[in-house]
């Protein structure tokens, strides 16, 4: 082959190689985004004069509850390595004993000083599974913390930690027991028992004293469970992916189907004592009357709305919810009639939080808004990307 032929061939090979490297780099970016959280939806916790919220980039931010002004410097979780999930926060932070508690999607529990967001204590889920992660909240229970975590594709586990030191007290299920499926939920703790469902279609009740099963066996439902249950008068209320809303006896685990939606139930229900409000991914909000044992109303009554991932809240007889429609909707709790609504900056998937008459909303564009239901006015809003 001539010298020019070699040159042409070499140039083509170099071009092909460059193209291949570029394509691989681009594709690596695509696949990275599969395991990295592209959204995440941490809710907001109000503690005295401050609110705390987690972000999709693994930051915990403190804002003034009245003005939205940033407080101390945010805490930044260490960046994930190539083989780890994103440090994003899906669960709502909790505050207990002057510590902010939050679980990261890369499988680490953080305990931070609430005043300074420093002095981090951490506990990493002891699993070599490549898909381990925490998608729910860390729940304080006396001197313990309870968190549900995913360890690998089929196994999740409930961890009970010492609140002061973040050392492990016990875990459920024990090694070798039947897998729970992935756990992407927040346990609800009542009288020393944690109740939670998993993607393995089962609802579990675990005694926090020794991590033993409180029921004879986990309650099997027909669909996966992400929604944290709501405990009311000895009953748990929750919906599942089989489109069914259930009432489960907290003492025995016996389940009873109450009504069906047209899509999956994802969000934790809310209650005002008279009714349970359950949001569905089909865009409907259902009100179940606890006295009559029947469905009281469904909003909207006709047609479909956008998926509701965000948990509703009840404030002064009004039920408030936000959805993928980018609208905050306020309904009359008794009738389901629309009171008023307000356009938001983006879709909302984080659970809503209420303190007094103010509702705090964390939208997917990382804007946190405070809306006063009494005045129907925006109190403040702030984009978390601007908080340094």
């Amino acid at each position: 082959m001539t010298r020019s032929g070699h040159r042409v061939r070499g140039r083509r090979a170099a071009l092909l190689l460059a193209g291949a490297l570029l394509a691989i780099a681009a594709l690596a970016g695509c696949t990275q985004s599969r395991s990295a959280a592209s959204q995440s939806w941490s809710g907001i916790v109000v503690d005295g004069a401050n609110v705390y919220v987690g972000t999709r980039e693994g930051r915990v931010i403190q804002l003034n509850a009245a003005t939205g002004a940033p407080g101390v410097a945010p805490y930044e979780a260490p960046a994930a390595s190539r083989n780890e999930a994103s440090p994003a926060f899906y669960g709502t932070p909790t505050v207990s004993g002057g510590r902010v508690l939050v679980g990261g999607y890369q499988g680490i529990v953080y305990s931070l000083d609430a005043a300074t967001l420093s002095g981090a204590l951490t506990y990493e889920i002891p699993s070599s599974g490549l898909t381990k992660g925490i998608a729910g909240s860390v729940v304080p229970a006396g001197d313990a913390l309870v968190v549900a975590a995913t360890e690998d594709a089929n196994q999740g586990r409930l961890y009970v930690l010492e609140a002061a030191s973040l050392t492990e007290r016990c875990r459920y299920p024990a090694a070798g027991a039947e897998p729970t499926g992935q756990l992407w939920t927040t346990p609800v703790v009542v009288d020393g028992v944690a109740y939670f469902g998993g993607l393995g279609h089962k609802l579990h009740a675990v005694d926090l004293a020794d991590c033993s099963l409180a029921w004879a066996q986990p309650t099997q439902l027909d669909g996966a469970i992400v929604a944290p249950p709501l405990a009311v008068d000895g009953m748990l209320y929750l919906g599942a992916f089989d489109r069914t809303f259930y009432a489960v006896d907290m003492a025995t685990g016996a389940a009873q189907a109450l009504f069906e939606g047209e899509g999956w139930f994802w969000a934790q229900p809310a209650t005002d004592g008279a009714r349970v409000y359950a949001a569905n991914l089909d865009g409907h909000l259902h009100a179940y009357d606890l006295t009559s044992g029947a469905l009281a109303w469904t909003y909207p009554a006709k047609g479909k709305g956008d998926p509701i991932v965000s948990a509703p809240v009840v404030v002064d007889g009004q039920v408030v919810f936000a959805s993928d429609s980018e609208v905050l909707t306020v309904l009359d709790g008794a009738t389901g009639a629309l009171q008023w609504d307000r356009k938001l900056t983006a879709k909302v998937r984080a659970p809503l939080t209420a303190a007094g008459s103010v509702v705090y909303i964390h939208a997917l564009d990382e804007t946190v808004s405070a809306v006063d239901l009494a005045t129907k006015r925006l109190v403040w809003d702030r984009n978390l990307d601007d908080v340094k």
């Binding site: 394509a23 592209s38 490549l130 993607l199 996966a224 992916f241």
Partner: protein, 326 residues
């Protein structure tokens, strides 16, 4: 743009996602088998397109000597060159972009399949929540199978081979490159142009290597699809064009494999003698890498036509079947 996204979702991604889930239900909740079955169904549906594409490609390959000849003859007159080329294409029943059409139609299918597999293997809560909106509410039993079991032969199909570290996963990556090499080797025809032949050789190795490297970064479910798809493609190619470039070169052909010479019989092809039989060889390799120009038989130049021109018959390519002697 929003409308296009909606259209894409409703016409391509959503039906594919639901079909994959349905196959998962039918195949005892085995996602690996469902992906393979899905590949067979999709490749079966696109079979007529693939056959057309292969035939057009083959025809174009067979025309290369004459195209080169036209290029050289009319290198100073692009207009005449263009006209002559179109005339040649018409005469031989070749659509120069005919092989692109089927490829273009297949592209959305491949991309849709990529997203379908990604959809049924949600990695994050937002992916799982998104799956709800992509499932047909009227299909029974689908809600109950979520989340799908991601295990297959000890592998997690949602993980990339790099992350899973599974030996079988790496073997699948190797297999995806190997099957692509075989398929490509079958596709490549003899080239008259040494430079083109050199590029072909390079691509023959380059693409499988690239493909193998891509596979390292994609979920194993997709790698299974690629391997299955390549294997089906090899079978399809064999049915349409025979072994193609995989066929052994007769010893009489001498050192050069780049072009058929008048002194050796042409490799039988499932395409039949459609074009190859009708086309005069344009170059003769003399064994030392140099080529000699065959006397022009087209008669177009008015001074070089010396031999009798073979009849310019247009025969229909034979479908499948065995070989026939030439």
């Amino acid at each position: 743009m929003e409308f296009l996204g909606l259209l894409w979702n409703e016409v391509v991604t959503r039906p594919m996602t639901n079909s994959l889930l349905l196959l998962y239900v039918l195949l005892a909740s085995n996602l690996g088998l469902a992906i393979i079955a899905f590949t067979v169904v999709v490749r079966g549906l696109t079979y007529p397109l693939v056959v057309r594409q292969l035939r057009q490609t083959r025809k174009l390959q067979a025309l290369q000597p004459r195209i080169k000849e036209l290029n050289e003859r009319h290198k100073n007159n692009p207009q005449v060159r263009g006209q002559e080329m179109m005339k040649l294409y018409r005469e031989m029943g070749v659509n120069p972009i005919g092989c692109l059409g089927p490829m273009v139609i297949q592209m959305p299918i491949f991309i849709g399949l990529f997203w379908a597999i990604n959809n049924v293997l949600p990695f994050t809560p937002e992916n799982l929540a998104g799956l709800s909106g992509r499932m047909y509410g009227w299909l029974p039993h689908l809600d109950a199978i979520v989340p799908v079991n991601r295990g297959f032969l000890g592998m997690d199909l949602a993980l990339e081979p790099m992350r899973s570290g599974s030996i079988l996963g790496y073997a699948l990556v190797g297999l995806s490159g190997l099957t692509m090499y075989v398929q490509q080797k079958m596709t490549q025809g003899p080239s008259m142009d040494p430079q083109q032949a050199s590029t072909q050789r390079m691509m023959l190795f380059m693409f499988p290597v690239m493909f193998g490297m891509f596979s390292l970064f994609f979920p194993l479910g997709l790698v299974i699809y690629w391997v299955a798809s390549n294997l089906i493609g090899i079978v399809m190619q064999y049915l349409v064009t025979g072994r193609g470039g995989l066929a052994p070169v007769p010893a009489a052909a001498g050192a050069s494999r780049q072009a058929p010479s008048p002194s050796r019989p042409r490799r039988p092809s499932r395409m039949g003698p459609t074009l190859s039989g009708a086309l005069p060889p344009a170059k003769e390799h003399n064994g030392d890498g140099a080529t000699a120009q065959e006397p022009d038989q087209d008669g177009e130049d008015g001074g070089r036509s010396g031999g009798a021109r073979p009849p310019r018959t247009r025969r229909r390519p034979r479908r499948g079947g065995g070989r026939r002697p030439q």
